[in-house]
Symmetry: C2
Subunit: 143 residues, 2 copies
Amino acid sequence: MTRQRVPAAVKRKLTEARVAHLATLDKRSPHIVPACFAFDGKNIYTAIDRKPKKQSVKELQRVRNIRANPQVGLMVDEYDEEWRKLWYVLVRGRAEIIDGPEEQQRAISLLRCKYSQYRMGLLPDGAQVIRIIPDRIAWWGKI
Amino acid sequence: MTRQRVPAAVKRKLTEARVAHLATLDKRSPHIVPACFAFDGKNIYTAIDRKPKKQSVKELQRVRNIRANPQVGLMVDEYDEEWRKLWYVLVRGRAEIIDGPEEQQRAISLLRCKYSQYRMGLLPDGAQVIRIIPDRIAWWGKI
């Protein structure tokens, strides 16, 4: 976890925002996906859920990329036509595929708690979970 | 431009979506920003506008990153709580800062045409413009 002091309002955005964009590295080129996520006040979790995917879980690009290079960027923001209301929170850090069943189960609970969609079967026990440990958090705009 | 056949519905998303997320490379770590953009049927344009920034234009991270490494990912999508409605369009390609005044002015006109906010002074003549030339376009979901 970053030792940076992060204001409560920024943490609230990380807790409440419904979608993030996760950038990973595919060799030397950036890859990016929208992702549902949960923040436990320290780390960010996102799971390989049962939304349809272009590829099977084993080959999922974000997972392959993270195994090869753990550096990621996670952007949380919300578009508004009133540009004075715009804001973002950018988390840069290291991502890992969780392999301890206890933390994995805790992350799955956190995600199910945040998303009712996940409580309806879209996030099975044992789903692969990615943990993002923030190195730096930056924020901008109307937070 | 990619020689890939891109369906009209995908082009429509690229034309009409109001915001994209642009991933660039900061040394070996991915950086990401939300960005307004315009698509001319071939390339994608995004400008350094007058929304407040964390840094001055010359030092803007996305510009420095692109000069050092032109590989970018641009994600266009829209979140919806009804997950069956989700979709995305991912453009991977090369970005350049435009230096010809003619293409720059054409891109600025395109952006002003799309965003009324830009017609009210937020996008001055002479604004820096980034051109993204798609190498590959991928799409998923309810397009």
